[in-house]
Structure formats: C-alpha cells, structure tokens
C-alpha cells in the first residue's frame, strides 16, 4: 500500500470527526502556530527536557498513541507553561522575532537581530540559554560575520 488513493467514490469532501475526545485523551492544546514555536523551540527544548525525553523514550517503547497519553499531557503542559512564561516576560521581543521569521520563510539566519534581543531577554529573565548541541567553535547564532545573513 505504498500509494495513496483517495476514496473519492465513497466520501465527498474532507471528513472531520466531530466526536469530542474521551476523558483520558482530553487536554487543551498549545494552539501556537509554527513561527512562534520555531522561535521558542530551543527554550521549550531546554525547559521541558525531562518531559520530552521521557515522552520519546515512552514512544520508543511502544508506538501506540494510547500508550503515552500521560507523558504527552505532561509535555504539552510544560510547553504551555513555557509559552505563558515567555508571553509574561518577553512578549515584545518574542513577537518581533516570530514576525521576522514569518516574513523570511522561517529561516533563522535572516532574523539574527531580533533573535539576539529575544535570547538576551529570555536569558536575563528566565535564565534559559539557546544551546545548539554539538556545535564546534562559535555557535552559528552567535557569529558576527556570516556569509548567509
């Protein structure tokens, strides 16, 4: 079944399941779009490291969506917590950065200036630092003279 065939003769239009979630899977979602998430990715990653790793280990154990609902809720709750904190402390800087990302095809290199102010704000208020694992010498987001900018 490597090819996807749309069952156009059976269904008409897109089917959206209206059934509400059962109690064990009900949880509010973060509801953030891609650019703010990409902007905050490294902070979410470092702030929620334990929950994220726990969830991924659980997924590695069993790929069934029902298997890791509890861990998944913790991951989502942690991310929501982080997003609330970012909005409370650095909303202006964050907004400047993700709007820049929206404008520049979501490329980090095109938005180093707003990124730096955002990172400084997060570091001073939340004590979180953007760290790219395995970077040799100066990490790319801290370099001054870059070819791509």
């Amino acid at each position: 079944m490597s090819t996807f065939r749309e069952a156009s003769h059976i269904t008409t239009g897109k089917f959206v399941d209206p059934t509400p979630a059962p109690a064990e899977a009900a949880h509010p979602e973060v509801g953030t779009t891609s650019a703010p998430l990409k902007s905050a990715a490294f902070f979410i990653g470092s702030y929620c490291k334990d929950y994220n790793e726990d969830f991924m280990l659980c997924k590695d154990e069993n790929n069934d969506p029902a298997h890791c609902l509890k861990e998944g809720r913790k991951v989502t709750r942690c991310a929501m917590d982080m997003i609330t904190k970012l909005r409370e402390n650095c909303e202006k800087e964050w907004e400047a950065h993700y709007k820049c990302l929206e404008k520049h095809n979501q490329e980090y290199y095109a938005c180093r200036k707003p990124e730096r102010t955002f990172n400084e704000c997060v570091f001073s208020k939340l004590k979180l630092e953007k760290v790219i694992p395995g970077a040799s010498n100066t990490p790319i987001h801290l370099r001054e003279n870059t070819i791509y900018n």
Partner: protein, 124 residues
C-alpha cells in the same frame, strides 16, 4: 664575350626594412597580471564558497535541532487526536456490526501486538 654579366643586386644603399611586425599600441594589464589576478579571484571565491558550505551545514544543524526540540510536543498533540479518532471510529464500527456475533471492533488485521495505524476508517 668580354663583358662581365651584370648580376641583379640591391639598389645602392640597400632595401628598407620590411615592416612585418604588428605595430599595435600596448593596452591593458600584462598577461602575468591577468593570470595572477584571475587565480587570486578564483581562490578567494572558492574559499568563501567553502566557508559558506560550512556555515550552511551549521544552519541546517540549527534547524534540525529546533525541530528535534518540538517533536515531542507535536507528536503528543497528534497522538491525542489519533486516539480520539480511533476511539470514535471503533464506536461507530461496533454500532454498525452489533448484530454480527463475535465481531471485535477495531481489531488489528495483523497477528501481532505491535501497533499499526488503521487501514480503513469507518466514516458515518
């Protein structure tokens, strides 16, 4: 036959020099300068390309890590949605097949305990 035969000789004073060389004024830089200039340009350009390649690799790594950090969040959300849809589909299937004896709604077609996404979804 006393007269000595007169051999053909150049005119007195000799012929003027034949101008076979191109008398074009020399313009522009010398060949050596051009060659070394182009070599320098190519070297610098290649160096910059190499630096750009290294930088692009780092940018790619940065992008990949940003996605790695977001995967648990997105996967958790997708899992909850899949779970909700599958539960609803199973309920519908059970309703449709309630008169068939021994029918298990949402049973895997594979003889394995490993989770496989449903091939067919029961749509009302």
């Amino acid at each position: 036959m006393s007269a000595v035969p007169q051999q053909e000789l150049p005119r007195p004073g000799g012929f003027p020099e034949i101008r076979y060389k191109r008398y074009v004024p020399k313009i522009g830089p010398s060949g050596l300068a051009l060659f070394s200039g182009i070599t320098l340009m190519c070297t610098l350009g290649l160096y910059r390309t190499g630096q750009g390649n290294l930088e692009r690799r780092e940018l790619e790594r940065e992008k990949v890590w940003s996605r790695i950090h977001l995967i648990p969040l997105l996967q958790a959300e997708a899992d909850r949605d899949t779970y909700r849809r599958e539960a609803a589909a199973n309920e519908r299937e059970a309703e449709v097949m309630k008169n068939v004896k021994g029918w298990k709604a949402g049973e895997s077609v594979y003889n394995s305990k490993r989770y496989t996404p449903q091939t067919f979804v029961v749509v009302p």
